[in-house]
Symmetry: none
Subunit: 461 residues, 2 copies
Amino acid sequence: MNYRMELSEYLSKNKQRIFDELFSLIAIPSVSAKSEHKPDMQKCAKRWQELLKQLGMDRVEVMPTEGNPVVFAEKRVGEAVPTVLIYGHYDVMPVEPLELWNTNPFEAVVKDGKIWARGADDDKGQSLMHAKAVEYLLSDNTLPCNVKFILEGEEEIGSGSLEAFCQANKELLKADVILVSDTSMLGSDMPSITTGLRGLAYWQVEVTGPCRDLHSGIFGGAVANPINELCKLIASMTDEQGRIAVPGFYDDVENVSPDERAAMAQIPFDEEAYKQSLKIEQVQGEKGYSTLERTGIRPTFDVCGIWGGYTGEGAKTVLPSKAYAKLSCRLVPHQDHVQIGLLVKKHLESIAPKSITIDVTPIHGGDSYVCPVDMPWYKAAEAGYTKAFGKKPLPVRRGGSIPVIATFEKVLGIKTVLMGFGLESNAIHSPNENFPVDLYFKGITAIVEFYREVAAQTPVR
Amino acid sequence: MNYRMELSEYLSKNKQRIFDELFSLIAIPSVSAKSEHKPDMQKCAKRWQELLKQLGMDRVEVMPTEGNPVVFAEKRVGEAVPTVLIYGHYDVMPVEPLELWNTNPFEAVVKDGKIWARGADDDKGQSLMHAKAVEYLLSDNTLPCNVKFILEGEEEIGSGSLEAFCQANKELLKADVILVSDTSMLGSDMPSITTGLRGLAYWQVEVTGPCRDLHSGIFGGAVANPINELCKLIASMTDEQGRIAVPGFYDDVENVSPDERAAMAQIPFDEEAYKQSLKIEQVQGEKGYSTLERTGIRPTFDVCGIWGGYTGEGAKTVLPSKAYAKLSCRLVPHQDHVQIGLLVKKHLESIAPKSITIDVTPIHGGDSYVCPVDMPWYKAAEAGYTKAFGKKPLPVRRGGSIPVIATFEKVLGIKTVLMGFGLESNAIHSPNENFPVDLYFKGITAIVEFYREVAAQTPVR
């Protein structure tokens, strides 16, 4: 039996090495959205493979998919113990606009108590926390579970290859629970665990009026303008109450219990500070719901992009032939993204006037997810956060989507606990992404404490 | 006295030279909307100066303005004769989208009996007709009037400098009538003269939501999306009847008499062919008005351009900070474009929700114009068309705007006759702009016959 080093001592002694390891992952620009970075995806997967081998995993493989490879690793400690599957992703978002970064996004810098780099949080930083927690427990000989890692390289572009990978590797991925650290907390001194994620449906719409761009003087008033018509269609998608005016849209929406809504109302939330940080005078959304409810438990309709006609300098008097938009809905339990995709498509097609043609193409989607807060795995996570932060974490439904979580449940039949340690101020997907150093080590601590809580209920080896 | 060559012989002998001259103007990309073409504006003005000198004008000057220069030319044939002022413009519309052109827009090609190029019609082609008609009459020694030319370089961007130029040069521009060829006829075998033009008001709108682009999952549903809100504002600008829903908008609109509406109903118009040529299933516009009325005597609301958020490939889930649109209204007698500009601005500002900010900037405008059909100058034009086309031209109110025509009346006190020879199929402002060759020479003939009609009533030299 090894000398048992305290976790805090272990982290402090190994701090620089842990940083160096994280920075070596960050240094590989694994931007999945850009095909020029294809070789970097391989490189980053290989680097993860090395790191997982070094910390003592039994089996570590870089496995091919239709797209970017998946890194799989496994450590077995016994037959009678449960298995934890850790999911993360090694791909990152594009870094543009580069001029807004204060430092090189791929050269991590520690300054003002934070790590600054693309991927410092999402998700190289958060994924590595799990590796370092497992490393400590192995060094300490106290890992109470079998552990598997699965790290994908396409999360930021929709996890296109992962469902097929799961279907083809059900046995390999067998586990009792999935842990994911890819979400954020309410604040560094307000720990929280994301217990719900919204789903997503996303369409591209093309509206065609006349077969060519027309002079708005000669034809204007008699020929339908596709931009005007697209705007009318978009405007008609929501009603005066801020509800989505598509028949059947709310049919399957989860009716959140008064108890859970009462609990949500207890979450500390400073609406004035929220408005000030966004420089808006008023929040706006579905009548009868609070801001946290609007982003947590209610579906949305957002136009993510729109374009058509003349968009250059000055005044061109054109009645354009085409107009386009990218429409999206965040979905909530138990809305099915495929069905909603078709519902909205059919609705838009049915209300479009005959003076135009409309083409609605669903281009992306995923279902929502809810983690039951009475599940022992959730309780263990709760205990882990409580030990690390000195406060019981609040369960919070968040508005974002990680479609793969719903896929895990559907394909593998495994529930996920979202042990995220990010902050909204970490600026993921934005310039100057960062992660506070103290939070980084508190996160590792919370994960270690999660396993200790599991150990308290499970015979080890 | 020179040998008197018949006009038809003259045109046929000089056909290639006339083409070469037109093509030399077309070859200069005088796109006024784009500041990169600033040097081309100078170049094109200089080229016009050369051409007008060559044909025998006495005085030809490139005169500076606040913006692009004006080309002025004058030929005096006597004191007792009337003076005709010819107005045209040497600037052209942008050529985008370039991929839809079958040929280089700035390299004129004659094919299938048409000249294909940007400016072949609007307005290099049509302006040059006047120069060539005057050239013939001078060679023939039968020009019965003093003639002045004024060619501006900002018509396609609102003639911003022309009013001040007119104010400063009232004496120089003194004339009995203005001729403008910048409109189209009902058909190549259905000559018509435009007797009315609509006015124009044009705005750029900027809607700002949050101060930065947001993740649509984390914030969507609680923070107003500027694209959604812009679409709602645009949709609310028109009602179920296709009328513009801005209080006061119709207050000054001319009530066209039942007699004139009855006359308009007699204009041959094939709506099926119109729809087929535009590949639309239905026309659309203000209830209670025909297509010709909708484009001729009624105001409109058209969005000429819109943009915001993510417009690239695939699905980016962004709640953008900004959305933009270019809005336009065609106006009719007696709407004042400045007043309408302010009315719409105020209206949009008043209905915008507090969750966003809106900035509405009027960027272009002009008033409508009506030409009295009993004016002798109109009668002379009518006679010119009748000789050239073998049919009396129909007087037609058209939907386009040439704001400067109203300015001429206001500042110089001179009426304009709109001797346009274009066709709707000439695709002005669109890819593959063109002008039928036979129509080009018929147009020159009609102008020459106009002067002969004037001569019949006026002592020459």
